[in-house]
């Protein structure tokens, strides 16, 4: 998505990304970014929370005009929950799932091999977490 933003911007269309993976966006460097410090999946607000979704969108629209080349990253003040344990949980690898992940990788490589043989054109980047 960062590459798309950069391409549109280079061709005269101002862009802004609303996202939750700040390390990836900082690495890629995009024109304007509003960081929503949520688990991946709901960057526009908690599901069914229309007021929060509106708040995030209005913040993003304001950042469209307030951001500059130097001040390109803003953080939304919204919070996912008081419990912060979701942060440790994402793509977790520990002794409880190492063997399962190894087996999953083997199964996936077999699938990919099969897809290649049947002529699939494009491979997905990530399909599980």
């Amino acid at each position: 998505m960062s590459l798309v933003a950069r391409h549109l911007e280079a061709n005269g269309i101002p862009t802004l990304i609303i996202g939750s993976a700040i390390d990836i966006v900082e690495h890629a460097r995009v024109p304007r970014y509003l960081h929503v410090d949520f688990p991946l999946g709901n960057p526009c607000g908690r599901p069914y929370d229309r007021a929060m979704q509106k708040e995030i969108l209005v913040h993003a629209l304001g950042w469209f005009t307030d951001a500059s080349e130097k001040q390109w990253l803003a953080r939304s003040p919204v919070e996912w929950s008081h419990d912060q344990s979701w942060r440790d949980d994402y793509s977790r690898v520990d002794d409880s799932n190492r063997e399962e992940l190894r087996q999953r990788g083997e199964a996936r490589r077999r699938q990919q091999e099969q897809a290649k043989r049947s002529g699939a054109e494009r491979s997905g980047m990530i399909s599980e977490a």
Binding site: S2, G12, P14, G19, L40, G41, P47, D88, N97, M125
Partner: protein
């Protein structure tokens, strides 16, 4: 008693015993996760130190806004082939196909499209005069292992769609 050694991958986590908040290190977590599955050829995230930057050509309240999402249409075609699809912004879609994307499936869901596709919120903002209008179409874009597919195929396709629809600004929302 010696505390049990934590040998899990928690990239981004400070060394505090009980950190309250920290930015999750998604790139490192993903590399660790795929290493555990036996992959060594890791995805190379784009790296840049600067960026193109275009200032708004007209006031926000006059701008037509397009939305671009990494979710796919919840249709036979969308499920079968991840691609750039222009789709009608209204009526707001009740569902989008997100199962193949990497999001935090243990702790949330994507059943409410408003949580990642701000069409309704943009219509409301337009109704209040904060922006001009929501573009009649929104667009999907696949997350692709190949940066080349993105830069040489998908991004130019999206630019063409934005120009067809006379889009002034674009809001990009990766899940």
């Amino acid at each position: 008693m010696t505390p049990k050694k934590d040998n899990s991958n928690t990239a981004g986590r400070p060394n505090d015993v009980n950190p309250q908040k920290y930015d999750v290190g998604y790139m490192q977590r993903t590399r660790d996760f795929y290493s555990a599955q036996g992959y060594s050829n890791h995805y190379q995230w784009a790296k840049n130190t600067d960026t193109p930057f275009t200032t708004l050509q007209k006031p926000l309240e006059d701008c037509r806004v397009a939305v671009i999402t990494t979710a796919m249409p919840d249709s036979e075609q969308g499920r079968a082939r991840r691609d750039v699809y222009p789709l009608p912004s209204r009526p707001y879609p009740n569902s989008m196909y997100t199962a193949e994307l990497s999001w935090h499936k243990n702790v949330t869901h994507t059943d409410d499209t408003g949580s990642f596709l701000p069409l309704r919120a943009l219509d409301e903002a337009a109704g209040k005069g904060i922006v001009g209008e929501l573009c009649e179409r929104f667009y999907t874009v696949p997350t692709d292992y190949s940066q080349r597919n993105t830069t040489e195929i998908d991004a130019p396709h999206l630019l063409k769609l934005c120009r067809e629809d006379k889009v002034d600004i674009a809001l990009l929302v990766p899940l």
